[in-house]
């Protein structure tokens, strides 16, 4: 074969390769075709074998043609692969999924509403320097009543109908025994909050035989009734996330003097009167007062040097006011339809 014939054959091979790979649509087949042309026993190599038969002067010309066809084939492979990638990307983007199908449920747990409210209340009081304290739910009569100036046979015991476990052991009716336990073991200054379960013989839509109180106690030099008021106003405003005021109404709790019932400006109507506050603009949230000197005496604290204030609130009530829970029984039934709402 002459040099010219060889060059013509090589050009044809270039065209032939193009027609071979154009219909191919996967990379493996394209690479196989490439090998068929450019491999050791490929068609281009076949042509190369003829090269040695040519006069040396013709060889560079044919050599250049070989390189050209190799380059063409490689370019074609590249081009065709690029085309295929673009096609695949386009095809992928043509996928359509019904995104309105429901989500696959991810496990979602819920802290009990009362836990959430308790953690938040503790957080608010802790910003004012109060730390958490606790005590047993099964308490002595002494810690629950006697030390809080409620001796046996005191009419105030009627206010809190008590579950007795024995003559001297009760289910605590309030978290106030934690005050006593703290004052007996810690010297002033004291500031604690004590959240916990308490028990009273009471059962209706607003009373549960077990419920949750949060108790606060501060003892230091120079604490006054005005400080109590300030702490309570701070708390309700933070908890309800709006500026609310607090009204203290004279009331009687044997372990505080002066003692007060704590009313909060109705968080629902802001004080103009609604069903929640029975039109009064105020809702009752707990009891409070200045620690009675008799309680200090039981706890060996000098009531001339120190004064203190204490308050107690029901967490179920706070949660009810903020979240509209309309029956206290929901808190304790383990009904997931309730638990999963918060």
């Amino acid at each position: 074969m002459s040099a010219n014939e060889l060059i013509a054959n090589l050009d044809k091979l270039g065209d032939e390769f193009l027609s071979v790979i154009q219909p191919l649509s996967d990379e493996q087949a394209i690479r196989a075709a490439q090998a068929q042309f450019l491999g050791k026993k490929g068609k281009v190599s076949e042509v190369m074998k003829e090269l040695s038969k040519l006069p040396p002067a013709d060889r560079p010309l044919v050599g250049a043609a070989v390189n050209k066809v190799k380059q063409t084939i490689e370019e074609q492979v590249c081009r065709r692969l690029g085309e295929l990638t673009a096609l695949a990307a386009k095809a992928d983007l043509a996928r359509v999924v019904d995104v309105t199908l429901p989500a696959r449920p991810v496990p979602q747990g819920h802290l009990h509403l009362l836990t959430q409210v308790r953690l938040e209340a503790v957080q608010i009081f802790s910003e004012l320097g109060f730390v958490v304290a606790d005590g047993p739910q099964i308490e002595t009569d002494w810690h629950t009543f006697e030390a809080l100036a409620i001796p046996k046979d005191h009419p105030a015991r009627d206010m809190q109908d008590t579950f007795y476990l024995s003559e001297e052991i009760v289910l605590r009716t309030h978290t106030s025994p934690v005050q006593v336990r703290t004052m007996l073991t810690q010297a002033p200054p004291i500031r604690i909050v004590a959240p916990g379960h308490v028990y009273r013989r009471d059962d209706d839509p607003t009373h549960s035989p077990m419920f949750t109180q949060i108790e606060g106690l501060a003892v230091d030099e120079g604490l006054s009734f005005a400080d109590l008021k300030g702490v309570l106003i701070h708390f309700v405003s933070r908890f309800f996330q709006k500026e609310l005021t607090v009204r203290l109404r004279p009331s009687y709790f044997p372990f505080v003097e002066p003692g007060a019932e704590v009313d909060m400006q109705c968080s629902f109507c802001g004080g103009s009167g609604c069903r929640l506050c029975k039109g009064t603009g105020w809702v009752e949230i707990g009891g409070a007062g200045v620690v009675d000197p008799d309680v200090f005496a039981h706890c060996k604290i000098d009531s001339e040097k120190y004064t203190g204030f204490a308050f107690g609130m029901g967490l179920e009530r706070m949660a009810m006011l903020r979240h509209g829970v309309n029956d206290i029984k929901f808190y304790y039934e383990g009904d997931v339809r309730f638990l999963e709402q918060f």
Partner: protein, 809 residues
């Protein structure tokens, strides 16, 4: 306590006449919370006072009368048809329900013909106005009634009034009568008290027989007064007294009994009237009961007394249980003409104990329990004597016999103004404080910075400086106290994070919902776990006075309530439940049975339990059933939330009766069993009402050491290499055994051991299984060579072959 607004106003002269709303507000502001207000006249409307000016029989009906009435003097008469037998003579007043009137029960009157004659409304009987059950005849007002013609019937009936419900604090026995409430009103609104009429001069007469009074123990009975009233006649009380009693919730009986009640509500002093004819000894003695003494109270119940009870005696014979209830034999009857009137005070504690022990709670005992001022006895006796004579035609046969061994004197209290300002946090002037106390009837001496304050005798609750401070603040008004935020000094030390909350948060984050259940439960529910008698948890602490059997004992495990919650959820169609609870359980200290009395506090360890039933949610109705390994996973999360990244070992156990014997594991941390997981025993869940399988875990969190703040471990810098080994083993071989053998080799390059397959197939041979384990080898210092890894792996496989009946597959 119920009080009537008109009655309160009668007992005070206020500077400015308040409306009832203003009055209620003022009382509440001062600490007497008004819990409710009722318009006593709200039951009917459109009924007016009319005068009868003529009457004649109905032409068509014998029993009917045509009554001419007028509603203004000289006005035109209207003819009303009346069926009552007691139509009065002209000149008397009746109550005419006119057309359009509404009566209790909601009926509205229209003109309607009665036997051919149209009647414009009707004349009313008591029952038609909801005043009583008397339908014997129409209401005829007393001859001396001064209500204007045409006025609302409420005015004539004493119903133009409000009943206020006062929530009296437990330490304020003095406000259990209208007089005490009036004192509060005077203090809050300024004014003065007007005592009721006690003038007896018109009724003095009689036979001069003076009873003797002998108090055995002055501490039990500080004062006892007695007075004889004779020539009485029992009859119904006048309308005004009867209506006031009804208004405060007491049924009128007869003039004598009603007066004792009336004066009790007016002044707060309980009184007792004995029929003097039944008394013989001439000496009234007050002494304690003999142990086992018998006494019949006027409710006809025979009672056995104890020495703590105080008895009023006629000579030796008991005639009343002091302060609680009178005796049957000496009760006032319709025939009574002579009354011995008791007005006394007793030691509150005695009365409270007797009333409680016998379950006899009366209006009298309620007041005596809270303390009745001995100084009130004479005023009340005089007042009752006057009313009895006035309405019963009697006369006072003897002067008041007054046994009052030691006159009560109020203490004089030193009140420092500096202390007032410090406790109140409000800069009050001395003059303001003095004024506040004087408005309450306190006597105030001294001046400047120290006051000498003497409370009135009725205010025995004011005994200390701080009590006076409260009085000052409540009269001045708590709203006058400013609010301030105290500068709180930093508390020494802080409490570590609460393990219970740490676990709650971890489990919620992992998908469980937190429940909170009661601390008590029924005996049956507590026993549902089937724990053996040797387990402390089978000996719950009993509540002595539970409200229901569902709250009979303190819980010793969290599981029963949680499993029962599965039932509750299933009952309204929720079968997929995954909940947990973290809280106290209550255990007796030491050995003991349910019946052993509790002399000490209980152990209250914090436990954490969870139950899983049904499926966890999947997309489009899919979902995987919960199983024991989910329970295990949650248990591990809870343990690690408290104890950090500790090693948790699992051992199969058959010794926990609340779990399925073949699907239960105990969790071991640091050599201690800290809890269990598995499938709840089918019998246990059935006892608690659950049909479907329930998986659970139960952990004693107090057995875990709360971790110190977690320390970061270095992140591996070099890649590891994995080698697998497939083993043919006896099907009973626990996975933990293979882990133990691998761990025992102690190969430091072993980084992680994972079980990829636990495959059971009869083709493997009878009782055999295949397990595929994958071990990751890694060095923190370099990339391992294949030779190193293979060598380590072969050593481990060799050990497995050596130590176990196992074949490599």
């Amino acid at each position: 306590m119920k009080v009537l607004w008109s009655w309160l106003l009668e007992l005070c002269d206020l500077d400015k006449q308040p409306t009832v709303e203003e009055g209620a507000k003022a009382l509440t502001r001062g600490g007497l919370e008004i819990e409710g207000m009722t318009d006593l006249g709200a039951g009917f409307s459109g009924v007016v006072v009319a005068e009868v000016v003529g009457r004649k029989p109905h032409p068509q009906a014998e029993k009917l009368t045509l009554v001419d009435v007028i509603t203004e003097k000289g006005g035109a008469a209207t003819q009303v048809v009346c069926g009552a037998p007691n139509v009065p003579d002209p000149g008397r007043k009746v109550l005419w329900a006119q057309i359009g009137a509404t009566l209790p029960g909601g009926m509205t009157l229209a003109a309607k013909p009665v036997k051919g004659i149209v009647s414009p409304g009707m004349l009313c009987a008591e029952d038609e106005l909801g005043l009583g059950d008397d339908h014997g005849g129409i209401i005829v007002l007393p001859e001396d009634d001064r209500t204007a013609l045409g006025a609302k019937a409420q005015v004539a009936l004493g119903l133009d009034d409000w009943m206020l419900e006062v929530n009296a604090p437990a330490n304020r026995g003095d406000v259990l009568g209208h007089l005490g409430v009036a004192r509060e009103l005077v203090a809050m609104l300024r004014g003065k008290i007007v005592l009721p009429d006690v003038d007896l001069s018109a009724f003095v007469g009689g036979d001069g027989a003076v009873p003797m009074v002998d108090i055995a123990n002055a501490a039990s009975c500080p004062r006892y007064t007695a007075r004889l009233i004779t020539k009485l006649q029992v009859r119904p009380s006048p309308q005004r007294i009867a209506q006031r009693l009804r208004g405060v919730g007491v049924r009128p009986i007869s003039n004598l009994v009603d007066v004792t009640n009336y004066v009790m509500f007016e002044l707060g002093q309980p009184l007792h009237a004995f029929d003097a004819e039944t008394l013989s000894a001439g000496t009234v003695r007050i002494s304690h009961a003999a142990d086992g003494e018998k006494f019949t109270t006027l409710d006809k119940i025979h009672r056995t007394l104890i020495p703590g009870d105080l008895v009023i005696r006629d000579g030796e014979k008991g005639i009343a249980l002091a302060g609680v209830m009178g005796g049957l034999d000496t009760e006032v009857t319709d025939k009574t003409t002579r009354v011995l009137l008791e007005s006394a005070s007793f030691q509150p504690l005695l009365i409270r104990r007797t009333a409680r022990r016998l379950g006899l709670h009366s209006e009298a005992s309620h007041r005596f329990e809270r303390g009745v001022d001995p100084e009130l006895a004479q005023l009340a006796s005089d007042r009752a004597a006057r009313l009895m004579c006035q309405h019963g035609g009697g006369e006072i046969a003897s002067r008041l016999v007054d046994a009052y061994p030691q006159k009560r004197t109020s203490p004089t209290l030193t009140v420092r103004m500096a202390r007032v300002r410090m406790v109140g946090g409000v800069p009050l002037e001395t003059s303001t404080c003095r004024d506040a106390l004087e408005r309450l009837g306190f006597t105030v001496g001294g001046s400047g910075e120290v006051l000498d304050v003497t409370p009135p005798s009725a205010r025995a609750d004011v005994a200390r400086e701080v009590d006076v401070i409260e009085e000052i603040l409540r009269v001045v008004g708590y709203e006058q106290v400013p609010s301030s935020l105290p500068i709180l000094r930093q508390a020494p030390g802080n409490r570590p994070a609460d393990r219970a909350d740490v676990v709650r948060k971890a489990l919620a984050a992992a998908g469980l919902s937190e429940a909170i259940t009661y601390g008590f439960q029924s005996v049956e529910r507590n026993g549902a776990l089937g724990l053996p008698g040797s387990d402390r948890r089978s000996q719950p602490i009993a509540v002595r006075n539970p409200m229901s059997i569902d709250q009979a004992v303190m819980r010793t495990s969290l599981l029963p309530n949680l499993i029962a919650a599965v039932t509750r959820n299933a009952s309204h169609g929720r079968h997929d439940v995954a909940i947990c609870e973290v809280g106290s359980v209550f255990l007796r200290r030491g050995e003991g049975s349910v019946d052993r009395p509790l002399h000490e506090l209980a152990d209250e360890p914090t436990w954490c339990a969870g139950v899983l039933s049904g499926k966890r949610g999947g997309q489009l109705g899919a979902g995987t059933a919960w199983d024991a390994f989910d329970a295990k996973g949650y248990a591990q999360i809870a343990i690690r939330a408290v104890a950090g990244d500790v090693e948790i070992k699992t051992r199969a156990t058959q010794s926990v009766p609340c779990f399925h014997p073949g699907v239960a594991g105990e969790l071991v941390v640091g050599g201690h069993v800290v809890g269990w997981f598995g499938e709840v025993h089918p019998e246990v869940r059935r006892r608690l009402g659950v049909e479907a399988p329930v998986f659970a875990f139960d952990l004693d969190l107090t057995r875990l050491r709360l971790m110190d703040p977690a320390q970061m471990r270095s992140i591996p810098r070099f890649p590891g290499s994995t080698r697998d080994v497939s083993l043919l083993l006896a099907a009973s071989m626990p996975a933990s055994r293979i882990e133990e053998v691998i761990a025992a080799v102690g190969e430091p390059l072993v980084n992680q051991v994972r079980l990829l397959e636990d495959y059971r197939d009869p083709k493997l041979g009878e009782g055999m299984k295949s397990m595929l384990w994958s071990i990751l080898y890694r060095s923190p210092e370099r990339t391992l060579t294949d030779v190193e890894v293979d060598k380590a792996h072969e050593a481990i496989v060799g050990r497995l072959m050596e130590n176990l009946p196992a074949q490599r597959r």
